[in-house]
Amino acid sequence: MERFHAWRAPALSLLLLLLFIGAWHAATLPTASRQVVDPEYAKLVGAAAATGQKSAFPTPAEVGAKIWQHLKEPFYDHGPNDKGVGIQLAYSLARVIIGFLLAALVAIPVGFLIGMSPLVYRALDPFIQVLKPISPLAWMPLALFTLKDSGVSAVFVIFICSLWPMLVNTAFGVGAVRREWLNVARTLEVGPMRKALRVILPAAAPTIMTGMRISIGIAWLVIVAAEMLVGGTGIGYFVWNEWNNLSITNILTAILAIGLVGMALDLTLARLTRLVTFPE
């Protein structure tokens, strides 16, 4: 590989960002030409947009100002339809974390069982294969009907979508523990609990953590859609609400926030994975 200075990649990233913002800015500049528009339409979308003087799509500066405004006051609460982005993100994060942890609580022990016992693996495999490809949102009506609470249903949807990657990875990691480590445990007459916790768990930990990383990524994808459906609170609901308000600026702010939080979740799990991974 060609050697390059450490600053070059970030510099290129910054350049690309500036190019993107520049193009965006140019595309949303008000146009000089006046044109006649239907007054009904003008009333609907706003005079400036209808006449073409100004696009309804916000300029980078407007979005920047909005982000600054949200950053100054992220946790304000002015009633059910006007809460700060921070509060909405916190609601979404709480749902994702609860659903994710519940899924881990189920998936890791069950995955251990599947990985250690070929019989259990064969018995459960058809169920897993059928349930795994189901879109988590397809469970939503069923969850709403049985759980009768939209917030709990959203957590359930997160639970069900986080379950499979963790389950499959745990089973795989546990099943693929190096034979020689198990033989060491056997020649040392290590009991089953000690073997599971001191040999199999650390050996499978990197694979289990990879499953958790995939799960949290999917959970964060799904929560936005789930909250658009259940409404009330959360960043997904915020996006939908701002669509109803026709506030593209707020939607763009929310999209950026969703991306940043998703990245933070992924980086956290990646760091945790590195903590339990040891080169041989």
Partner: protein, 309 residues
């Protein structure tokens, strides 16, 4: 004569072939290991050497026959028989100390932390790893890793040590110095050892008796070579001993040609229950002569050999 520490009686390993026929890896394997003795087993790949070691360790059941240790049949792995694996088999998430302590706490679960630590340190010092206690296997060289494996096996103070080609993954220099150390440690602790190898020089340096296996399938013990070299041999002096070349030539000759032909041209008086004991070292001090006509001492005329202690 006292009961040997371990007796192998007619063990065999067979696999069911795809066409319904059974494939026999080895069969009718009989030998015994005395307390404090170092026995090496030599044979080509595919003769089931590792399987024999796994059966002795209790990791695999034999298809037929028994292994009797201290008057009892081996039914599974035991802390009395420690295994040094070919590829060290250290847990990469544990440090040197952690790997050894895992074994020590498995043997003596009631021991206090300080006692475990002191016990581990004793064996870390024994294999000359002092200072590497906090290092993980990835930070150690191949030779150091194998030392940790040796310390882990010795630290549980087993009745018997089983080594599966312990030095084969190492470079020649490291292998030499580790062989010297194993020979020193075994002499100091009077440890009973069974080692699998395919290295003739390693077997002569370390073992008191060398079990020769014919090629698989249907491998057998062709004979057992008694190492008549003085027990104080070292890597630097072993090749100057008068018995060295006769024994070495005998072993090489076996591996090169006789291991293949043995099953076709079995001696008339061959009895798998009592494989012939041979002492090529005593046959002649002239290596040339020994190479041309390796002397087989028939078991009937030869008194039972008491291994020099």
């Amino acid at each position: 004569m006292a009961e040997p520490l371990i007796r192998i009686e007619g063990i065999a390993k067979r696999f069911a072939g795809r066409d319904g026929a059974t494939a026999t890896v080895f069969e009718d394997v009989h030998f015994a290991i005395e307390r404090g003795e170092f026995v090496a087993l030599i044979g080509h790949s595919g003769c089931g050497k590792t399987t024999i070691l796994n059966i002795l360790a209790g990791l695999e059941p034999p298809s037929a026959g028994y292994v009797i240790v201290g008057g009892r049949e081996v039914a599974g792995p035991s802390l009395d028989r420690a295994v040094i694996f070919q590829s060290h088999a250290l847990m990469p998430w544990l440090t040197t100390l952690g790997n050894i302590a895992f074994a020590v706490t498995s043997r003596w679960p009631a021991w206090s932390k300080a006692k475990v630590r002191a016990h581990c340190q004793q064996y870390i010092d024994l294999v000359h790893l002092t200072g590497a206690e906090k290092k993980r296997p990835a930070e150690l060289s191949g030779g150091m890793r194998q030392r940790v494996g040796i310390a882990r096996a010795l630290a549980i103070e087993p009745k018997m040590l089983l080594m599966d080609e312990p030095f084969s993954a190492l470079d020649a220099l490291t292998r030499g110095s580790l062989q010297d150390e194993v020979s020193r440690i075994c002499a100091e602790t009077r440890q009973t050892v069974f080692m699998i190898t395919h290295d003739v020089d390693e077997a002569i340096l370390l073992a008191d008796r060398i079990v020769l296996m014919t090629n698989g399938p249907e491998a057998k013990i062709a004979e057992i070579v008694v190492n008549t070299l003085p027990r104080t041999r070292t890597r630097y002096t072993v090749h100057r001993e008068p018995h060295y070349y006769p024994i070495r030539n005998h072993l090489v000759d076996f591996l090169v040609s006789r291991s293949k032909q043995f099953n076709d041209a079995m001696p008339a008086d061959y009895d798998p229950k009592r494989p012939p004991l041979v002492m090529p070292g005593l046959a002649s001090t002239d290596s040339q002569l020994a190479a041309e006509a390796p002397l087989r001492v028939p078991p009937a005329t030869k008194p039972l050999v008491a291994v020099a202690r």
